[in-house]
Each structure stands twice: as structure tokens, then as C-alpha cells.
């Protein structure tokens, strides 16, 4: 089993004994037939297809719907590990909201010299239209998906703070449903904390951020770019599970000083809009005039206090990869505490010394675009060919400010069910946090993404990654 000892495997340490949280699962697994489990695995796939948990793939001639592969071996986290992660995420989410409020007001953190002015001034994610805007409860990012990686027994790092529109929570929920459906016995043998309350928590959390004009039960709606968007399934799923309307820009209009949706009975005002449309496309009158996905004037209504937009426009300034490198300072500045969760050491290529180091050590590093996401436009040094390295070197020299670099982390592995049985694959973890004036709630577990290709470190679904159910055990 111990395939490559330089990686921390979360199930098997050394020898054949499973680590504590996996001991019961390992026992159960040894009594199962691999062929039978593989059959169950294809059943799960059929179930996902039927439910329609697919994502659309772009760039093909005809739009196709694909499944994100699901692996039936759970990823298991102990109560103690989770308690630490939960505390760390809570701290981070509070700090990020304080940071966003500050950045769009007095910028004390810049005045205090903790972040260089140009990190904000030269950042496209900074939205001048948000200056002076204080959303209800000063919550800017209501839903955060913090990407974590593990490298050892007690070694967790934050890889990214997704503070604009983190996705994937529907997989967290559907993966659990599927596991409950296929392996009910596992859940009577292991005390796994539930995740199914997420939609209710989300609705409660959003409702708590209703604007002052809302006097009764807040009307919540989910804004989607439409059925062709790659995450449409998730948008529909969340609206459905919360019991709220799923709207598109063309369903909405500014009426009587509110943003209202066209219903069969006329226009009905919305109090809180959980939008899954990027800032740029949100309001053709205030942002990209070519956008057909947005609502003209919604930003004006927002600034007048007529609607809450979750997450707020301009939150991208907090999950930008260059700002990321300042997160330890940010956490400390706003909470007065040391950051509980560690940052991955990051070289900002905009700084000449850092750039030199990165260029000298390119084959060992991971280089990312400052504003990129989804694993696109990144270089994994150890896996790159000479040609790729040379091409990236040129890009770095041309526009160093566009890149940051990090050491290639030894991501932990968790076994997947491969043809011949269990085989270790690299994973990350995206827990989901909900912020409202009432506090921060973090759903135990999250989405475990797994690189299905042997040795691969890229877990993104657009790059051949899969997902696992994530268990947080009760104490």
C-alpha cells in the first residue's frame, strides 16, 4: 500500500494499519469485494446522471454535459482536526470581512503600512463603485469556500480564500446523499456529522443580511447566468433546496426603487439576491455594458440600500492571489490574533528579488496567475517539460506582476477505489463557511477534491479531478 512514502497518506501511515479515523472503514472494506464495490461505483455514476449533477464543458463544438467523477472511498477527518480547522476558518472569514470593509472605507491597513498601497491601487479586483458602501451587518462575503491542503499529521495550509462565488457545495451535499443511499451501514458504524442542513443554514444566513427596507420575511432569490452556465445544476439545486426562486437577469427589473422579479402575479421585490453571476456581468449600466446576464441599475438600488447582494460586488479583492500572500498580516491586523491556519509561502513575482528566486528555481515551484482560477494558466514546475518551463519563463519575465509562485506542496493522499483496489491520490479540501451578522457557521466537512490521475497534484474538475464524500467524525 505504501506507494510513495514522501507523501502523507491520510488512511494508511506505515505498514498495513489504518490510521485511527479510518480503522473502522478499513475493517469494513476488507470484508467487501472490490468487484462489487466497483459495481456500486458505476451505480453511483448512473444516479448522478439521472439527477443531472453535471457541468457543461466549454470549448467543444457542441456543448456537452459531463459528470464530475465521484469516488466512493470517504475522506475522514477527526473531531480534533476539525475543531482546529473550524476555528481557523472562522477567524479568517471574520478577518476577510473586516478587510473588505476597511478597503472600501478608510483603508487603515494601507495607512498603517501593513499592505503596500499599490497592492490595492493596481488591482483590477478593487471596485471603486464599492467605496463607502456598507452592506447590512458589514458582511461583504457571505459564502466563503476556503481551499485547504494537508501535508502532514498536523500540517494544514490555506491554498486560496474563495470569497467571491465559491462553487461545489452541491457536490458536498449530493456526495453525502449518494453515500447514505449506497452504504447506509457505514453510517451506523461511524458517527459522521451531518451536512444536510446547509441549505437551511444558507437561507437563514442570507435572510439575516436583509436590507433595512425589508420589514417582513426576507424574499431571497438565486441569480444564475442561465442553463448554459457550467454550474447551473448547483444554482438550481441550491434554489430548490432553499425553497426560493432561481432567477436570471431577464426576470428582474428595477421597480419602485427595488429590484423585483417578474412573477405570474406581477413584479415582486427581492430582499437578498444570492448571485452566481460575476461582478463584471452583474449590471450592464454600471459594469460591462455588453452583459446580457445582469440587471441594469441593480448596483444603484444596492447603493441606495434597496437590496442585499451576496456576495457583495468587489469581494474579489480579498481572494486575489497577490493579496493572499498578505493574509497572515490581514488576520493579525483585524483580529489581533495570530493566524491559526498557515499560508503557503508565496513569492510575489512583482518583487524583483522574489522574481529572481522564482526564475532560478522554476522546476521546483508552482506558479499561478494572480487573477486566475480553475487551475488554468498555472505551471506545476516538477511536472512541466523543458519547453513548458521555457515558455513560462518568458511569460514571467514579460509580466512578473501577473504571477505568484509557491513551493510544490507534498499534498496528502487518500486512497481511491482503482481497478485493483485502493490506490493513493492527492486531495484538497474546500469547507464552506456562511457569514452573517449573527456569526460564522462552518459546515463540518466540505468538498474533497481528488486528482484521479496517479501522481497528479491538480484537483480541479476542469483538469480531470474528482470528488469524495468528506466525513467529520463526532467526538
Amino acid at each position: 500500500m505504501a506507494e510513495s512514502p514522501k507523501f502523507y497518506d491520510e488512511m494508511y501511515g506505515h505498514g498495513d494499519a489504518a490510521r485511527v479515523p479510518y480503522s473502522d472503514y478499513a475493517k469494513w472494506f476488507s470484508g467487501e469485494e472490490v468487484g462489487n464495490l466497483r459495481r456500486k461505483s458505476s451505480q453511483a455514476e448512473a444516479l448522478f446522471r439521472l439527477t443531472g449533477i453535471t457541468f457543461n464543458v466549454y470549448g467543444m463544438e457542441e456543448e456537452t454535459e459531463r459528470l464530475i467523477p465521484f469516488d466512493i472511498v470517504p475522506r475522514i477527518i477527526t473531531a480534533k482536526e476539525w475543531a482546529m480547522l473550524e476555528k481557523g476558518i472562522d477567524q479568517r472569514v471574520r478577518a476577510i470581512n473586516s478587510f473588505l470593509h476597511d478597503i472600501y472605507h478608510r483603508q487603515e491597513i494601507v495607512r498603517a503600512g501593513r499592505i503596500p498601497e499599490e497592492m490595492i491601487a493596481k488591482n483590477d479586483a478593487f471596485l471603486p463603485q464599492m467605496i463607502g458602501v456598507a452592506p447590512p451587518g458589514n458582511i461583504y462575503t457571505h459564502i466563503v469556500g476556503t481551499d485547504l491542503v494537508r501535508t502532514g499529521e498536523n500540517e494544514f495550509y490555506v491554498l486560496e480564500d474563495n470569497a467571491r462565488t465559491p462553487s461545489g457545495v452541491s457536490y458536498m451535499l449530493e456526495n453525502r446523499e449518494t453515500m447514505l443511499h449506497m452504504f447506509p451501514e457505514l453510517f451506523s458504524r461511524n458517527k459522521v456529522r451531518r451536512v444536510s442542513h446547509y441549505p437551511r443554514s444558507l437561507r437563514r444566513s442570507l435572510s439575516a443580511c436583509a436590507p433595512p427596507v425589508c420589514l417582513e420575511n426576507p424574499v431571497v432569490a438565486v441569480l444564475t447566468p442561465g442553463i448554459h452556465n457550467s454550474a447551473y445544476y448547483e444554482h438550481a439545486f441550491l434554489a430548490d433546496q432553499m425553497g426560493v426562486e432561481l432567477v436570471e437577469g431577464q426576470d428582474l427589473r428595477v421597480i419602485d426603487g427595488r429590484v423585483a422579479m417578474r412573477t405570474t402575479k406581477g413584479y415582486e421585490p427581492i430582499d437578498v439576491l444570492y448571485r452566481r453571476v460575476d461582478d463584471e456581468f452583474l449590471d450592464p449600466m454600471n459594469f460591462n455594458p455588453d452583459s446580457v446576464l445582469g440587471v441594469p441599475g441593480i448596483l444603484d438600488v444596492y447603493r441606495a440600500g434597496g437590496i442585499t447582494i451576496a456576495n457583495a460586488p468587489g469581494t474579489g479583492i480579498a481572494d486575489d492571489k497577490a493579496i493572499y500572500s498578505y493574509m497572515p498580516e490581514i488576520v493579525e491586523f483585524y483580529t489581533g490574533e495570530k493566524a491559526i491556519l498557515k499560508n503557503v509561502p508565496t513569492w510575489r513575482c512583482s518583487e524583483p528579488e522574489a522574481l529572481q528566486y522564482v526564475l532560478d528555481n522554476l522546476p521546483e515551484l508552482v506558479v499561478k496567475e494572480v487573477h486566475g482560477s480553475g487551475g488554468y494558466g498555472m505551471l506545476v514546475g516538477p511536472a512541466a517539460s523543458k519547453k513548458e518551463l521555457a515558455a513560462f519563463r518568458a511569460k514571467l519575465e514579460a509580466k512578473p506582476g501577473n504571477y505568484i509562485a509557491q513551493p510544490t506542496l507534498s499534498l496528502s493522499t487518500v486512497p481511491i477505489l482503482a481497478k485493483s483496489g485502493l490506490a493513493p491520490r492527492h486531495v484538497d479540501l474546500r469547507p464552506f463557511a456562511l457569514a452573517s451578522p449573527k456569526g460564522v457557521e462552518i459546515i463540518p466537512g466540505g468538498l474533497t477534491r481528488v486528482a484521479l490521475k496517479k501522481g497528479s497534484l491538480v484537483v480541479n474538475s476542469s483538469q480531470g479531478g474528482g470528488t469524495k464524500d468528506t466525513w467529520v467524525l463526532e467526538d
Partner: protein, 313 residues
């Protein structure tokens, strides 16, 4: 509910109904081509005409042949009424209104689409046709069943029902519109075998053959067939039945919303006509004229519903 959702549910069920209707038309055509190969070409032609697809078909094919017509009606994506196009449109609408549907309904529609997509991926040969038609029947019955069994009886359900009956009445009226002349007394040849077959086609295309036999003791009589398809409220595919249902469902919405709209007056007028008409009066007025008028009133009603319940702007 959103106006868009009302429109999406309405169209999803229209397309599901259309899927079935097209399959039924193919079944009717197939039956004749099997029993009377000499009449096959003209029957396929009149089926294409009834569906308003003859010119679209002839743009792609030079001759009317069973195999080509069947594939055109089953799987040609350029044909918006083909089974594949209709079921795909039904599913797209279902995705659009996913939050208004129960998981069961969505899965039934999705599975219908997945099965047909696989079955219709390649040209269909004659011997596999009965199986495919069977799958279409079963899959759409499954959608209907999940709709009845799991949906809350609210406005969403009402719009779904209105979509179903709207498409069904539309389809029946079109069949009558194309075939009206064989039901006219003037050209009636008593006992003529050819007419029997044509009459049977009408009944098969509207899935009413068996019901007709039961209720009319097996006697084919064109006047009775016309009465049956237009006025008989026991037949779930007659115009009168469908419009009673449309009217009922629009009434539920009016009661629910506490507001009657212009479409209510329109549907009432159409229903009233069915209440007071007899088949003799219809023949006196002109069967063709009656059906044509019905079709245009029904289109106007459809537009009015769209406006009253804000399907679009």
C-alpha cells in the same frame, strides 16, 4: 412563481405531449403501411401534412417513403416536432424550471431524454420501431405519473396541465383539419374499405380507436367519429374535454390569485361553444370552418395566457 417558470412548465408539458403525439402519428402511419402498402405513401403524406411538416420533409427528401418519414419524425433535429427535438426541448424547459419540479418529475423527464438519446443515436430500422414506440409510451407515462403523484396542486401544476391539454387539443384539431374531408357526408361511401382505413388513422393518431370501439360498439360512422373527437367529454383527447380541463385549471389559478384575467373570458367563450354545439350544427356550419376557427381562437388564447401570466416580458 416566476412568469418565466410558468412559461417553462407550460412548454415542458407541451413538448412532452408533442413527443407522445408524434410517436402516435408514427404508429398510425406504420399500421397502415403494414396492412395496406398501396395506401402507405398517401397516408405518410397526410400525416406529414397534419403535422405541418410536409414541406420541411420535402426539402430534405425527394420521395415520401416510410423509412425516411419515420426517421424524420423520430430523430431529425432540424425538425422541431421530431420526437428527439421535442423531448430535448421538454428537458431543456425542465432544467429551466428545475426548482418548480419535484425530483421525481425532473428525473422522469431526464431519464426519458437519456433513454431516447441513446435509442435514437443511430437511424432506426423498421424492426426496432415497435420497441422504440413502446419506450416512448412508457417513458412519457412515467413523467405523467410522477407529475400526478408527487406535485403539489398549485399554480405550477395548473400551468403544467394547461400545457398538456393545449398541445393535445391543438394536435387533435390539426388531425381533424387535414382529414376533415373524409368525414364529410358528401363524399361518404358507405362501407367502403378505404374510408374505414382513413377513419381508423384518425382514431389511431389521436389514440382514440379503442375508446371509440368500446363506446360505439364497433360501428365506424364518420359523423360519430367527428362528434367523438370534438364534443365527447368522456374522451380525454376530445377538444371539448381538453378545453374543459384548460378552463378548470385557469379557474384554479384565478381562485388562487384572486384575480380573473382576459384569458378567462376567452376560454369561457370557447367552452360555451362546445356546450351548445351539436355535431349536426357543426356540419351545417362547415366542419373545416369550425376547426379552422377553433385553431385560430386557440392560438389567440395561448398568446393571451402568455401575456396575462407574464411568461416573457
Amino acid at each position: 412563481m416566476l412568469g418565466k417558470t410558468a412559461g417553462g412548465v407550460f412548454w415542458m408539458l407541451r413538448y412532452m405531449e408533442r413527443t407522445e403525439n408524434t410517436a402516435r402519428m408514427i404508429d398510425a402511419g406504420l399500421r397502415i403501411s403494414l396492412t395496406r402498402s398501396s395506401a402507405a405513401e398517401s397516408e405518410w403524406t397526410s400525416i406529414l401534412t397534419a403535422m405541418g411538416l410536409l414541406s420541411a420533409y420535402l426539402e430534405k427528401h425527394e420521395t415520401v417513403e416510410g423509412g425516411k418519414v419515420v426517421n424524420f419524425l423520430l430523430r431529425d433535429k432540424s425538425n422541431p416536432s421530431s420526437v428527439m427535438s421535442a423531448v430535448e426541448a421538454a428537458r431543456t424547459n425542465a432544467r429551466l424550471v428545475r426548482t418548480a419540479l419535484t425530483r421525481e418529475v425532473w428525473e422522469a423527464v431526464n431519464e426519458c431524454w437519456m433513454d431516447l438519446r441513446d435509442l435514437l443515436a443511430r437511424p432506426v430500422r423498421e424492426q426496432s420501431l415497435p420497441d422504440i414506440l413502446q419506450v416512448i409510451r412508457q417513458r412519457s407515462a412515467y413523467v405523467r405519473g410522477s407529475l400526478h403523484g408527487t406535485m403539489v396542486r398549485n399554480d405550477v401544476y395548473d400551468f403544467a396541465r394547461i400545457g398538456t391539454f393545449f398541445e393535445r387539443a391543438d394536435n387533435a384539431a390539426r388531425v381533424l383539419d387535414v382529414k376533415y374531408y373524409i368525414l364529410l357526408p358528401s363524399i361518404m361511401h358507405v362501407g367502403s374499405a378505404s374510408d374505414n382505413v382513413q377513419w381508423e388513422t384518425i382514431l389511431r393518431a389521436t389514440s382514440s380507436a379503442r375508446a371509440y370501439q368500446t363506446l360505439h360498439e364497433g360501428e365506424y360512422d364518420p359523423r360519430m367519429i367527428a362528434r367523438f373527437l370534438i364534443l365527447d367529454k368522456r374522451l380525454p383527447r376530445s377538444l371539448a374535454f381538453c378545453y374543459r380541463k384548460i378552463s378548470d385549471n385557469l379557474d384554479y389559478i384565478a381562485k388562487d390569485y384572486g384575480d380573473r384575467m382576459p384569458c378567462h373570458g376567452m376560454v369561457e367563450k370557447i367552452c360555451h361553444r362546445f356546450e351548445t354545439m351539436t355535431i349536426d350544427k357543426i356540419f351545417e356550419y362547415g366542419l373545416h370552418e369550425f376547426v379552422t376557427e377553433f385553431l385560430s381562437e386557440s392560438q389567440a388564447l395561448g398568446r393571451q395566457i402568455e401575456i396575462d401570466y407574464r411568461f416573457y416580458e
